[in-house]
């Protein structure tokens, strides 16, 4: 076989292949692919920018108000958080997942009455509504070794051993909780307590 014979043999290929080869479709398809790629890139950049700006604004607001929240910490992580991350009140800008909704906090304390104890702390219902929480709203309070537990007579109960030395007998007690983190999860709102003051 010589090149010319090969060339002539190529001249009899199927019409369907020939039609497809010489149609302008590939160029259009390529153009479309390029456009989709560019559009996707723009969306990604725009999304990232908006998210970044919002995060920056939220962080700036919290810092300026003196409230430093630890964002994006999962429930289990928060429950087992060490003193290093929570006790020192240091500014922290952990990664935040898109599923988390950080409340725009105005106050950093809430009055609750304890409705039950669990491993990470206790659950409580909001006793006195404030700018952040409605009355009766269920909140999970997470406690750790750095949480200070106080009594109405200002007696310090640190460490609180997660139960304010009251165990389940404290169910129904009224407490004021100051907190460092507020996290919206699928199961509800969780706060990480800095101090828990029992006043009734």
């Amino acid at each position: 076989m010589n090149p010319l014979q090969l060339l002539e043999a190529i001249g009899d290929v199927d019409d369907t292949l020939l039609q497809a080869a010489h149609q302008p479709l590939p160029l259009k398809r390529q153009f479309a692919v390029h456009m989709v790629t560019i559009a996707a890139s723009i969306c990604l950049i725009a999304g990232a920018s908006v998210w970044g700006v919002r995060q920056f604004a939220a962080h700036s607001r919290l810092v300026s108000s003196g409230n430093v929240f630890h964002h994006g910490t999962s429930v289990s992580e928060t429950a087992s958080a060490t003193d290093d991350t929570l006790d020192q009140g240091q500014e922290e800008t952990n990664d935040i997942s898109f599923s988390d909704t950080i409340r725009d906090m105005v106050t950093e304390s809430v009055d609750l009455y304890i409705t039950g104890w669990n491993t990470g702390g206790f659950s409580g219902a909001v006793n006195m509504a404030n700018a952040s929480f409605e009355s009766g709203m269920e909140i999970q309070v997470l406690m750790n070794d750095s949480t200070s537990c106080l009594y109405s007579d200002e007696q310090t109960g640190t460490p609180c051993s997660y139960d304010m030395n009251a165990s389940n007998t404290a169910v129904g007690s009224y407490v004021t909780v100051t907190y460092s983190d507020c996290i919206q999860t699928d199961t509800g709102i969780q706060i990480v307590a800095t101090t828990v003051t029992r006043y009734q």
Binding site: P3, L6, I10, G11, V13, L18, Q19, H22, L27, F31
Partner: protein, 185 residues
Amino acid sequence: MDDSAIVSLYWQRDESAITETAVKYGKYCFSIAYGVLGNVSDAEESVNDTYLDAWNAMPPSRPAVLSTFLGKITRRIAIDRWRKHNAEKRGGGQMDAILDELAECVSSGENVEQTVEQQMITDHINAFVRTLPDAEQRIFLCRYFYMDSIKDIAKRFGFSKSKVKSMTLRIRRKLRAFLEKEGWL
């Protein structure tokens, strides 16, 4: 006018069939002929011969795809014309470059038996082309059927010329391996 109407004109022996063909497929046929010959007047003559061939072929032929039917005629006529001229001197079309490229896929100038074996080669070429990814299929046929230049192919597909060159090189290596496997080399 759609293709079936043009074919009907041929079957009715209506000479306007040639006019309609020229209107719709004149540039298409010219680009193929020019790709082979690289000469405007030779290409135009090949296109005129294409119309005559088509007139003689229809009837009895009733092509399903008129464009490729005409393209194949044009290509064959242009190659024949190139073959005649080639005895004197080489032209300026894509033929010389393409034949040099295809020489990488075949070993020598030895001839195979005509007709039957030629058809067998074509069958294998069809099979080979179908094994290629879509983009390579198109590039292979644009280069070696339509005789498009590397520059035109690059423009058509939005690739760089070097990318097209590397793709055609890869395809030729595949073709050589395929032909060796099928016992043609």
